[in-house]
């Protein structure tokens, strides 16, 4: 973490916005002016140094999944039947119903709301797909849920996929006043997943509003008494029954692990391709035609690269 922290402190010389990234050169838009080639050169610590040739490589790795409609094969993870068996369709009583959940409710059986699982399936696909893409791009994911019954489960789920969880009392300015509470230049989560949108007094969790404030997209399981408005990818479903919450945790864990694995595969694949046929690839603009200039060869920095990097 230390080299990343130092790099980000340097970046703080006025350039960045929003979620900071320790890897400087990993910008999603190739055309945009890359801000800190020169600021980095003045530092003595080359935290992450990548040769120029890998920028378009990174772009290809990042943009490749977006071209497929279901790159991570999300639809095979669940079905309407499996949602039904996990009791995802059971909502609260009609008196607890939130007005904005009405479009997602199929009907009410003896006063208990039944959630429309066809809609749930569609929403869940979108939510899982989004999570997978964020995990693929090495985003930070935060699991939030305030139901004490599943607190431990959520924490173990987060630990098993290598992400983060916060199932305790959510302090006031945790997202909005992060530099003060968490330390200077802390990277905020890129995605927040709510297993329970309400807190223990049945009010919307503060993190929903705060994530909207900090431009952090959210995925959330909204029950019939929740407000789905501010959640980017709501998933109407039961958040009170154990089978239901277990199912959702399992789904998120599987998809995040799958996405990370896919990322490793893609990087290995592109690295291999780079090593085998550098000339065959239509490279980026500023490529010196030397064979060693590809990411497979990080250990030997090449001085004939474009001179914006300091020699370590």
């Amino acid at each position: 973490m230390a080299p990343a922290a130092s790099v980000s402190r340097l970046l703080g010389a006025g350039v960045c916005a929003g979620p900071l990234r320790p890897r400087l050169l990993q910008s999603a838009t190739p055309g945009r002016a890359r801000p800190s080639g020169r600021t980095l050169a003045s530092a003595a610590t080359p935290a992450v140094r990548e040769p120029e040739g890998s920028i378009d490589l990174n772009d290809r790795i990042l943009n490749e999944p977006l071209k497929h409609s279901d790159f991570f094969n999300v639809k095979e993870l669940f079905s309407v039947r499996s949602l039904f068996d996990a009791r995802v369709h059971l909502g609260h009583k009609a008196g607890c119903r939130h007005r904005f959940m009405e479009p997602y409710i199929f009907g009410s059986r003896l006063d208990q709301d039944i959630i429309d699982l066809e809609q749930t399936a569609a929403h869940l696909w979108l939510a899982l797909n989004f999570t997978a893409h964020v995990a693929y791009r090495k985003g930070i994911i935060l699991f939030v849920g305030r139901n004490r019954q599943f607190s431990h489960l959520i924490e173990t789920t987060a630990r098993d996929c290598g992400e983060y969880a916060h199932t305790r009392y959510f302090k006031g300015g945790l997202l909005t006043n992060a530099p003060l509470l968490l330390g200077p230049k802390v990277r905020l989560p890129d995605l927040i997943i709510f297993l329970h949108t309400l807190n223990n007094v049945f009010e919307p969790h503060v993190a929903v509003r705060d994530a909207a404030k900090m431009q952090i997209p959210t995925v959330g399981i909204v029950d019939t008494n929740c407000n789905p408005c501010l959640i980017t990818y709501p998933v109407p479903g039961n958040d009170d029954s154990p089978p239901s919450v277990h199912l959702f945790c399992r789904l998120f864990q599987t998809i995040i692990n799958r996405a990370k694995q896919k990322r490793r595969h893609m990087e290995a694949l592109y690295r291999l391709q780079g090593q085998e046929g550098p000339g065959a690839r239509g490279g980026g603009p500023a490529h010196p035609p030397s064979l060693g200039a590809y990411p497979g060869d990080r250990s030997s920095p090449l001085p004939e690269e474009s001179g914006s990097h300091a020699c370590p």
Binding site: C16, I114, Q215
Partner: protein, 190 residues
């Protein structure tokens, strides 16, 4: 560090997109391209919760089945079934469910009279060995006070409800007076 904390104005995406376009936000956030490629079904815009006034009601229909009528009659006659519900078993059939299935079988065979069907089903179940204990006479006399929950709620638009919505409670009450007088099963009135 640029950002817009106005969560009530647009969605997260619209605010970020506009900040990027204005040049205030320099670096595109990680999730931006993903959102562009796979947008949600509804844009997550803030909406104020407003109460419903007057006679406006939610457009949510009740879920009712034709078997519910049979179930209602069963519970009126026999009270809650003697066999406890075993929820661990996904294929569990309660006494009421067996009753309903037998009733529908007999109905398919051609019987039309409801009372007769009811009695026949009771007999068939007894023959199979399922014990049915009738609720005592004092309970059936109190059935008059249960009329309110018998009648379906007024905003039923469900297609699963049969067309002939004959007044149910009267038929039931008339029906229950006779069988209970025929065979007193010995349940002492509460």
């Amino acid at each position: 560090m640029a950002g817009s904390r106005l969560q009530t104005v647009g969605s997260v995406f619209s605010r970020t997109r506009d900040l990027l376009r204005a040049g205030v936000l320099k670096e595109k956030p990680l999730w931006f391209d993903i959102y562009n490629a796979f947008p949600p079904l509804r844009e997550p815009v803030f909406r104020r919760t407003r109460l419903r006034y007057g006679k406006a009601k939610a457009a949510i229909q009740d879920i009712l089945y034709p078997e519910d009528r049979i179930r209602a009659k069963f519970y009126l006659a026999y009270g809650s079934g003697q066999k406890a519900f075993d929820l661990f078993n996904p294929n569990f059939k309660s006494t009421c469910q067996q009753f309903v299935e037998k009733y529908i079988e007999l109905q398919k065979l051609g019987e039309t009279d409801e009372e007769k069907l009811f009695v026949e089903t009771g007999k068939a179940l007894l023959a199979e060995g399922v014990i049915l204990r009738r609720v005592g006479e004092a309970r059936t006399q109190k059935a008059g006070s249960h009329v309110s929950w018998e009648s379906e709620p007024s905003d039923v638009k469900s297609q699963t409800v049969l067309e002939n919505n004959k007044p149910l409670p009267e038929a039931l009450q008339g029906q229950h007076m006779e069988p209970s007088e025929e065979q007193s099963k010995g349940l002492s009135p509460p």
